[in-house]
């Protein structure tokens, strides 16, 4: 599985990469914001996108919408990672078409569970 992690904080990208490593997902590419990620999605194939919510230049919501409006990118499962557990943030993401979300803090097992359920929605496996 090839995963694209999108977050403006390099350390947070490393944290998510570390959690993915603990569930045996090693093929991970990083992007520092939504615009950068869109460029990478144009050039490489990915199996999963894991994106932060609050980012400068292009927010997670705007990045999500850009993916879901694209015929190719919308086929890639999209998981939002957020520290915002408030209902309106989650609802906004669901309306925009997020495939799943996970709220920090999360364990490796929780991330595995969320990824597994998301891939099943797309008829795929981890």
């Amino acid at each position: 599985m090839k995963v694209l992690i999108v977050d403006d904080f390099a350390t947070m990208r490393k944290i998510v990469r570390n959690v993915l490593r603990q569930i045996n997902i090693e093929n991970v590419i990083e992007a520092e914001n939504g615009k950068h990620a869109l460029g990478m999605l144009d050039k490489e194939a990915f199996d999963l996108i894991i994106s932060d919510w609050i980012m400068p230049e292009m927010t997670g919501i705007d990045f999500l919408k850009a993916c879901k409006e694209d015929e190719e990118k919308k086929r890639i499962p999209f998981i939002m990672v957020t520290a915002e557990a408030q209902k309106e943030s989650v609802l906004e993401a669901i309306k925009a078409g997020v495939d799943n979300y996970i709220v920090k803090p999360f364990t490796p097992d929780k991330l595995r569970e969320v990824i597994g359920k998301t891939m099943v929605k797309f008829g795929r496996q981890m």
Partner: protein
């Protein structure tokens, strides 16, 4: 010192350390800070607005901050560097988010700023409110020798 403001932070700190760092924290005795300064060497600070306003500051001594970075990221930092500072900012963000979820469960809705991290000891901090700053110390083990470090969770909310 209203317990309804303390409990969300206690639950948040315990949950975040358990899930993201895989370790338990034990809270020490809460106290009122005499100075409006940072409690440790590396401090993440976030403002809170909404049904209440205030500030939360999460502070570590250098060794504790490095331990947090090493555990979260799976790399080894030898000193407090930009990556360690980032990690403390992110931990502050996560604990604040978890605490705000607990506040919301109690009918208090809060939004938070993006965290700022300061490096230095006893840095003067504007906690926004005029109320005293409550300091909650949380102790955690950093190795098999029984060495402990402390996280200070300081807040003032009105």
């Amino acid at each position: 010192m209203d317990v309804k403001y303390i409990n969300p932070f206690v639950l948040a700190a315990q949950a975040v350390f358990k899930t993201m760092l895989g370790i338990e924290v034990a809270m020490g005795k809460p106290l009122l800070k005499e100075t409006r300064t940072t409690s440790g060497d590396v401090t993440g600070i976030m403002s809170l607005v909404g049904d209440r306003k205030g500030t939360v500051a999460i502070s570590f001594r250098g060794k504790g901050a490095i331990f947090v970075f090493n555990t979260l990221v799976g790399e080894t930092a030898e000193k407090v560097n930009a990556d360690v500072v980032d990690a403390i900012g992110e931990l502050t963000n996560i604990i604040s988010g978890q605490a705000r979820k607990e506040f919301e469960n109690n009918g208090i809705n809060l939004k938070a700023s993006i965290p700022m991290v300061v490096v230095g000891t006893e840095v003067e901090t504007n906690f926004i409110t005029k109320l005293p700053v409550v300091s909650l110390p949380f102790y955690f083990g950093v190795n098999n020798n029984g060495d402990k470090e402390v996280m200070f969770l300081d807040f003032s909310i009105e």
